[in-house]
């Protein structure tokens, strides 16, 4: 449940959302692309209003945001490069999207380039279900790149990764945000990672943003209080 959340995120910035379980972090991300419908209010994504949008209008708006989920949501029986290309499905005409064999050559090149950008050129033809957790999460980030999204929404992208893979993914997200000029909104459960990699940290308690600050200006006790539900 979210209440009165008013949030702007900016290109080139990695914003981390912290909060206890059930505080509304994932709801915030899902509302941002209208995988969940807010009861009231407005969701403006890169200038387009999502609340009330339907069909093509909604799909067009969604193309501007890419989601990287907690569990890696790749199509298991497809190759890494096909999964990356799926990010651009929304821009293809119907007859070009019926099968991945019909995808334009330009999209193939873009998908391979996106994979190379996340350091996975060598696993392009591997099936998604044979990739490690860290590789799969990087493929999901490559999908966001291939989508040419302006906003990346990542819902606990490192939850199931070992510390090294988690750091690699966060470094990559930060790098992509800065170099490609994307806005990244990342939900994390590890404050120490947030302090290390975020440009900005949001704290959520029971659906309300209780602080919005740079890591340098934040007190660690204030962050710790998020998980006791006592932040005011």
């Amino acid at each position: 449940m979210l209440h009165g959340v008013d949030l702007d995120v900016w290109p080139g910035e990695l914003t981390v959302v912290l909060g206890a379980n059930g505080s509304g972090k994932s709801t915030l991300l899902r509302c941002a692309v209208r995988l969940l419908d807010p009861d009231a209010g407005s969701v403006v994504l890169c200038g387009a209003e999502l609340v009330g949008a339907r069909g093509r209008e909604l799909r067009e708006a969604r193309r501007k945001a890419a989601m990287v989920f907690q569990q890696v949501l790749l199509v298991r029986r497809r190759s890494a490069v096909e999964n990356v290309a799926y990010g651009a499905l929304g821009e293809l005409p119907l007859h070009r999207s019926l099968s991945s064999r019909l995808f334009p050559a330009e999209l193939g090149e873009r998908a391979h380039a996106s994979l190379a950008r996340v350091g996975l050129a060598d696993v392009a033809w591997k099936r998604a279900d044979t990739l490690s957790g860290g590789q799969a999460q990087r493929v999901a980030i490559a999908r966001a790149l291939c989508q040419r999204a302006q906003l990346v929404l990542a819902d606990e992208p490192v939850a199931s990764l070992d510390p090294r893979a988690a750091e690699e993914v966060l470094v990559l997200l930060g790098e992509i945000a800065r170099v490609e000029g994307l806005a990244a909104l990342v939900v994390l459960h590890q404050p120490e990672l947030a302090f290390r990699y975020a440009d900005r940290i949001l704290g959520i308690v029971r659906g309300e943003i209780v602080f919005d600050a740079s890591p340098a200006s934040l007190d660690e006790h204030r962050v710790a209080a998020l998980y006791q539900g006592s932040e005011t």
Binding site: V33, L35, R59, E60, A61, R62, R63, A65, A66, M67, F69, Q71, L73, L74, V75, R76, R77, R78, Y86, G87, A88, L89, G90, E91, L92, L94, S97, L98, S99, S100, A140, R143, Q147, A149, L153
Partner: protein
């Protein structure tokens, strides 16, 4: 001695859950009702041990007249078994295509609208409820005697069966990749083609092969009522007391069923 066994309050406890008197009476009444229904079924079907024993003598007599097999009908039997296979294949393939068109509407988690869902479920429910035998009787009148009426009957009934199983497979699937593609702006059709179908491909293949396996058997008995194929030949031979011919046809039938089952299993193992 364990700690629990030492506790006197736990003495005499067993694995059986304690039941109230009311529950015991209900259980007894249920058991009695079940036995009564079975007795009724025994009487209603004219089941009798005497008939079974005298029938055994007739069966031995039939078997003695069924050997050696008559090789003169081998070519016709093989040709008829190919027709039986073709009929089941075409019926199953048609049902598969129609089911895949229904599934995006009939699966609760991806249907575009409640009305579309109810309509698709109605089609599935009706076609599944009407047995292929009844469909065959209808299509025999509509398109005449021959295997095509069986193709239509098998297809019509299988749409219901396969459609239901496919829709349930979609409803049980991991929706993650679907959400990921939806969030990326893909259309419903694109999501279905690139996230739903690959996600359930192995299940679909297994179900389709199993249905084909079942349909081969259905085509056999539907053939006997005018659909042609191996079922018709077998029925004809038994009606004309040509038991040696029937033995040859049964042997071909057995080979056909074993081959279909074996190939289905191999494909399923490879895909799953």
């Amino acid at each position: 001695m364990s700690e629990a066994a030492a506790d006197p309050s736990l003495a005499g406890r067993s694995f059986a859950r304690p039941r109230s008197v009311r529950r015991r009476l209900l259980w007894l009444a249920g058991t009695a009702a079940g036995i009564a229904v079975l007795v009724h079924a025994w009487q209603d079907t004219g089941a009798s041990l005497t008939s079974l024993i005298s029938g055994f003598h007739n069966t031995l007599n039939l078997l003695s007249r069924a050997v050696p097999p008559d090789g003169s009908v081998l070519t016709d039997s093989i040709r008829a078994s190919i027709l039986t296979f073709d009929t089941a294949l075409l019926g199953t393939a048609s049902a598969l295509v129609l089911s895949l068109l229904l599934v995006p509407l009939a699966a609760r988690n991806i249907t575009p609208h409640r009305v579309a869902y109810e309509a698709a479920r109605l089609v599935i429910g009706v076609t599944r409820a009407i047995p292929d035998f009844v469909f065959c009787l209808i299509f025999l009148v509509a398109v005449g005697l021959g295997p095509f009426s069986v193709v239509l009957a098998v297809a019509a009934h299988s749409v219901g069966v396969i459609g239901k199983l496919f829709a349930e497979a979609v409803e049980d699937m991991d929706m993650g990749p679907v959400d990921a593609l939806r969030a990326a702006g893909a259309s419903r059709l694109q999501v279905f083609l690139h996230a739903v179908l690959p996600g359930i491909a192995a299940t679909l293949t297994g179900l389709a092969l199993y249905r084909f396996d079942t349909n081969v058997r259905s085509v056999l008995y539907l053939g006997a009522i005018g659909g042609g194929g191996l079922g018709f030949l077998l029925y004809d031979s038994l009606q004309l007391f040509q038991y040696r011919q029937a033995t040859t046809e049964l042997a071909v039938l057995l080979v056909l069923l074993l081959v279909v089952e074996r190939v289905s299993l191999m494909i399923r193992q490879r895909i799953v």
